[in-house]
Symmetry: C2
Subunit: 78 residues, 2 copies
């Protein structure tokens, strides 16, 4: 089983890394870029049943894989 | 239009960040974790037509958003 977690800064939070990538893309001649957000991607391979894995990882995301004050996360299990 | 880019270390490359997250999850009592890979996630909002955006971003991914020697990337446009 594979879990995919995407952690992104909340929309209201300043994202200097995203801003830097946006500027760099513009300087390299890419046109029409309105916004860039940079986040983290985690891929976790694990055993066990799907529901308990989801519960356990959801708790891990909330507790230490993301900072819920400034970040959102999306957890997918497949 | 929104482009989503996921950059992950190649399987053959040592991923110390993933290893650290794996150890931390185990120490927090999460069982059955076989592997963790940590990568980057980029979300780009842009104008223009889909095909030229794909071409332009594919080039950007290859040139400077990822390091093709040690990283793979996946580009999705929706």
């Amino acid at each position: 089983m594979k879990a995919k977690i995407i952690v992104t800064p909340k929309k209201a939070v300043v994202d200097p890394q995203g801003k830097t990538v946006q500027t760099a893309l513009e300087q390299m001649g890419h046109r029409g870029i309105k916004a860039v957000h940079v986040g983290k991607y985690l891929e976790i391979e694990l055993d066990g049943d799907k529901e308990s894995a989801r519960k356990s990882l959801d708790e891990a995301c909330h507790k230490f894989l993301s900072n819920p004050v400034i970040e959102d996360y999306k957890l997918e299990i497949e």
